[in-house]
């Protein structure tokens, strides 16, 4: 028995996406070739671009296909930083430490290697970015800011940022905003054109396409520096033979996920509400984000007196795939940097449980998990006490 409750790590591939992916893999042709076969795969790629554009409400030319979220984040952050420092010195990058490492690490890289200065915005106890602080930073140092990068929704806690408000504040100072919307796509409405963003990262494997295809949505009017140089594909910003099969699958999955948003929200919010009620019965448990505005499919908890690696072991042993939020390379569960940024202690940040579900999750699965969780928490506490 295996019950998969870790959709935010990666979601199961959609059956029809898999079928169309296999079909496009069978088609030969480099999309850059001028012959008929090349034109054939080029059309697959361009159709996929149309689909992504319709799914996130942007111009088709604003879709730059990449290998996924982390690449898109790097391209946006480094690319914008370099571009913005060409005509004037703008050393400041504004972000928050609740971001995914795909954003934090390129920013810290700029700090170390490109003399960038970083302001990490304060975050409330429930994980909400302090936008008053952002307004203050913009007022005080607007002309020095290269870019702002704030995620649309938090991948660990599910907390939603008011991106429209962020862009509104930044617009007054002409500061471009990038948003990592990897966790948001297909889970909450994402409207690039309506948001005022300059750049936005998305990826396919969170919505049911294969790992390895994502995109940076970059406004038509924006120029950025490229990280990868070569054949000049994708507006000259992402050289390399285009992955038309991956893009096709990604587009199909994204369109479906967006069309299902309402059903997704009602299905997952009911299940998550049930889970939260069951967890509330466990002594020493805490729902991590209080009443903050949150994605419907994510539930993040902390438990007193245990370590999440032990809890995850006990749950995995029974076939439940859940997460502590973030894992490092060697497989060690580290304290969650997101919870630390929210002002929690190292102990709390090491005692997390993240459950993320999808349309495929059933009430029976949530019930089984809720029943197993209490005893697992108890046993993990006993094992963590020694």
């Amino acid at each position: 028995m295996s019950i998969y409750l870790d959709y935010a790590a990666t979601a199961p591939i959609r059956e029809d996406v898999l079928a169309s992916y296999l079909q496009s893999l069978r088609v030969v042709g480099n999309p850059s070739s001028i012959h008929g076969d090349g034109r054939g795969t080029r059309m697959l790629l361009e159709d996929a671009r149309d689909s992504i554009a319709s799914a996130v409400h942007c111009d088709r030319n604003e879709v730059i296909f990449t290998s996924g979220g982390t690449e898109s984040d790097n391209l946006a952050i480094k690319g914008l930083y370099w571009q913005r420092n060409q005509d004037a010195r703008r050393p400041l990058v504004v972000s928050a430490y609740t971001e995914h490492h795909g954003v934090i690490d390129p920013i810290e890289w700029l700090e170390k290697n490109e003399a960038a200065e970083v302001i990490w915005l304060p975050v409330s106890e429930s994980g909400v970015i302090d936008l008053d602080a952002l307004a203050e930073v913009l007022r005080a140092r607007g002309p020095e800011i290269a870019l702002i990068s704030l995620m649309w929704t938090n991948n660990e806690t599910g907390v939603i940022t008011d991106i429209n408000k962020v862009c509104e504040l930044a617009a007054g100072f002409g500061v471009p905003v990038h948003s990592d919307a990897v966790a948001a796509l297909g889970h909450v409405p994402v409207d690039f054109a309506g948001s005022g963003l300059t750049a936005m990262s998305i990826t396919g494997h969170k919505v049911g396409s294969p790992i390895g295809s994502g995109a940076l949505i970059l406004s038509r009017s924006s120029k950025i520096e490229s990280l990868i140089h070569g054949g000049g594909q994708e507006r000259g910003l992402r050289s390399g033979t285009m992955n038309y099969a991956g893009a096709t699958a990604f587009a199909r999955a994204a369109v479906q996920a967006v069309s299902e948003l309402e059903a997704f929200a009602s299905h997952t919010s009911v299940l998550i509400a049930g889970l939260k009620a069951a967890v509330a019965e466990i002594e020493g448990s805490r729902f991590s984000v209080g009443s903050a505005h949150c994605m419907p499919q994510t539930a993040h908890f902390t438990f007193d007196g245990l370590r999440s690696d032990t809890l995850l072991y006990l749950l995995d042993e029974q076939g439940f795939a859940v997460s502590a939020g973030s894992a490092c390379q060697a497989g060690v569960a580290r304290p969650s940097h997101v919870l630390i940024a929210m002002g929690r202690s190292q102990a709390e940040a090491s005692a997390c449980l993240r459950v993320t579900i999808g349309l495929g999750t059933t009430a029976a699965e949530i019930d089984a998990f809720a029943r197993a969780l209490g005893p697992a928490v108890e046993r993990a506490r006993a094992a963590s006490a020694v």
Partner: protein
């Protein structure tokens, strides 16, 4: 599972014996390196992945458990504290004592496991009185009973060494290859795992900083200076950098580290000979001797791969005192003395003090 061949074959044998086995890799550093360098045997992502691939091949679950904080406080900090106190510690023993057969075992028992199974070369046997005994491995060259000498009776109950009775390491490698385990030809590790470049003195200098002091002979005459006493080990000859030779022209050796005065004492080779060892931090491995306060005959081993020497031992006023039948050279406080009776490990003590076989008044430095 360190990612090495021994724990891989141990796991395979445990699975084959019908046990329900879960592979656990100990994360002992918060910032593991990416790839192995030199002869370190664990704690890199490469090693963790090697172990995970073996677990997958064996069809067992695999987890990385983080003991980095405890390892730092109980092994790494202890290592530095011992050097600071002028002693020469064995961190692998400390790791067995505090981590593998303590913290890991306790967590495992709390999670419902019965035993910690490792790839150590040693054997647990049932003695005549029914109690468990730890014995040397048949693979004598690889015997690791010495570093397990810290195990207590209660810990032996939950220790499982499936490759302990193997005839040789070559057999283990051949078995790993026959089982299709990718680590069959992985090189042995022998350096201290948390010292990246394998250079203990450089590492200690970096961690503890320079603490200049004097190098003196046995009657206190200053012969030179050092930059930190932690850079010296009893028995060391090289790297003393003393300008003038000894009066008799013979090389000098480190005889003693005196942390209180920050002095390194040097003298002739003969003066390294030690005839008695004693320590108050001792444990019995399995059942204790019937009358530990009466002198009993045994053998003592003072290093992982040293030959044992005959001795008599007894507990005298809270100290385990070990009198050697013949003197040993260069035994330093901080080292562990493990007592054996035949192949059986009887117990161990961390050495607090040694008695020279050649007292100063008989053979002062520079005499003869």
């Amino acid at each position: 599972m360190s990612g090495g061949v021994d724990s891989a074959v141990a796991a395979a044998r445990a699975v084959e014996a019908g046990h329900e086995v879960v592979g656990v890799h100990l994360a002992l550093s918060r910032m593991p390196g990416t790839l192995r360098t030199g002869s370190r045997g664990c704690c890199t992502i490469e090693d963790s992945m090697d172990a995970q691939r073996v677990a997958h091949k064996l069809g067992i679950p695999y987890y990385v458990w983080d003991f980095s904080e405890k390892f730092k406080s109980d092994v790494v900090d202890d290592f530095m504290a011992e050097y600071t106190a002028g002693r020469t510690p064995n961190p692998c023993m400390r790791c067995n004592e505090r981590i593998k057969f303590a913290a890991l075992l306790e967590r495992a028992l709390a999670l419902g496991f019965d035993a910690v199974c490792t790839g150590h070369y040693a054997t647990v046997l049932k003695g005549n009185d029914g109690s468990l005994e730890l014995h040397r491995s048949n693979a004598y060259a690889k015997d690791q009973s010495y570093v397990l000498g810290v195990l207590t009776s209660a810990e032996l109950e939950h220790a499982y060494f499936p490759i302990g009775a193997s005839a040789s390491k070559d057999d283990i490698r051949a078995e790993a290859a026959a089982r299709g385990l990718t680590v069959a030809n992985k090189r042995d590790s022998y350096d201290i795992c948390f010292i990246p470049e394998g250079d203990t003195r450089d590492w200690l200098n970096e961690k503890l900083g320079a603490k200049p002091g004097n190098i003196v002979d046995r009657d206190g005459s200053v012969l030179g200076e050092h930059t930190g006493a932690h850079g010296y080990t009893v028995g060391q000859r090289k790297g003393l950098n003393l300008g003038r030779p000894a009066a008799d022209g013979k090389p000098r050796f480190v005889l003693e580290i005196r942390p209180k005065t920050n002095e390194v004492v040097v003298g002739p080779h003969d003066a390294l000979a030690v005839i008695e060892l004693a320590g108050s931090r001792f444990t019995w491995c399995g059942s204790s001797p019937a009358s530990p306060h009466e002198w009993f005959e045994a053998e003592v081993q003072v290093r992982a791969h040293a030959d044992p020497v005959a001795c008599t031992a007894a507990v005298v006023e809270g100290e385990l005192v070990i009198r050697l039948n013949e003197s040993l050279l260069g035994v330093a406080p901080g080292q562990t003395a493990v007592l054996y009776v035949g192949t059986r490990v009887l117990g161990q003590t961390t050495i607090d003090r040694t008695e020279s076989a050649v007292p100063l008044e008989v053979a002062p430095a520079g005499a003869q």
